[in-house]
Amino acid sequence: MSKVVIQADDVFKKYGSRNAIQHLNVSIPEFSVTAILGPNGAGKSTFMRMITGMVKPSAGNLTVLDQTPAWEVNRSIAYLPDRARWYGNHRVGQAIEWATNLHPGFNAERAWELMKSFGLDAATPVEGMSRGQEARLMLALCLARDVPLLVLDEPFSGIDMISREKIIAALIDSFSERQQTVLISTHEIAETESLFDHAVFFQEGTAVLSGDVERLRAERGSMQNIYRQLYG
């Protein structure tokens, strides 16, 4: 059994009387590329916000990289929030400069390479970027950080096919080059399921199924099929 990087034991998050997360028990293995799957409102984004300490559990125990989530732990996490935007008044070059100053372990050289492969140059203004371009910018800034944990909330949603393919290619390169644990939430299952080696299926704030993707395939078929079985 490989080392566990994120461990949730009976975690709850209440908003008023509603449980956004309830009885959540999850273990994410080190160096896995884990899919966080489930319908809207199942608790995927809340779980990711908990990992980055932005949301505190109402009950239960959550550890990330052997620590309780807090801003100190975030030095080791590259996080792409859902619907992430960058400062409109920046150009790509300024974004890289800004990230270099802000993030420990930010690899500016790698950021430039990624921007180039994403078709973004230093002078491109953020304002006026298409959604796909801005998604590529945000992802490049995440992938350029040398950190043990990468958390991407919906990196493929609402962006065009070419941008998606570029992002997938960049992710595969990144997985080949470094030992990093990666969490990705997505609704684009058919297109992306071949990238994952671990999966967690969320429903009503809890993990209803999780495990090694190849084993799940052997037992129950494709992730898309399992998704239909669970939520259809």
Binding site: V33, I172, D173, E214, G221, S222
Partner: protein
């Protein structure tokens, strides 16, 4: 998934089955069919992962199994090469034939044909070689 060609090999992956076994089987069968020459270099893990759009760990696992099977060898800093041992490839070819025959026999049995009936049919449809 549609067919992908890389390094002289052809792949069609089915997402409802474990991918590692499919990559392994399809490389093996490319070797058995002679689609890739003995001693030739196969794509790197990264190239294969990019072409198939799959997790590099999955490719790595398949490559490790090929190496354990002595069908490939990794030369440090140079990449992975198909074995030059033709006897080893011949073994794989026979193993593939065995597997194909087992599948064929199983299917025929499910249609209710016994060995004798199968032989008859083979003679009828399989040409004059028998």
């Amino acid at each position: 998934m549609e067919e992908v060609q890389i390094g002289g090999m052809r792949f069609t992956l089915d997402l409802s089955q474990p991918l590692y076994e499919q990559v392994l089987d399809q490389v093996r069968s490319s070797i058995a069919k002679g689609e890739i020459a003995l001693g030739s270099k196969i794509p790197s893990v990264r190239e294969m992962a990019q072409a198939l759009k799959i997790n590099p760990n999955t490719v790595m696992r398949a490559y490790q199994e090929l190496e354990r099977d002595q069908l490939t060898e990794t030369r440090r800093g140079q990449g992975t090469y198909i074995t030059t041992d033709s006897a080893r490839v011949e073994q794989i070819r026979y193993r593939a034939a065995e597997q194909a025959i087992q599948e064929f026999l199983g299917k025929m049995a499910s249609f209710g044909f016994d060995a004798q009936a199968i032989e008859k049919l083979l003679r009828k449809y399989g040409g004059e070689s028998t």
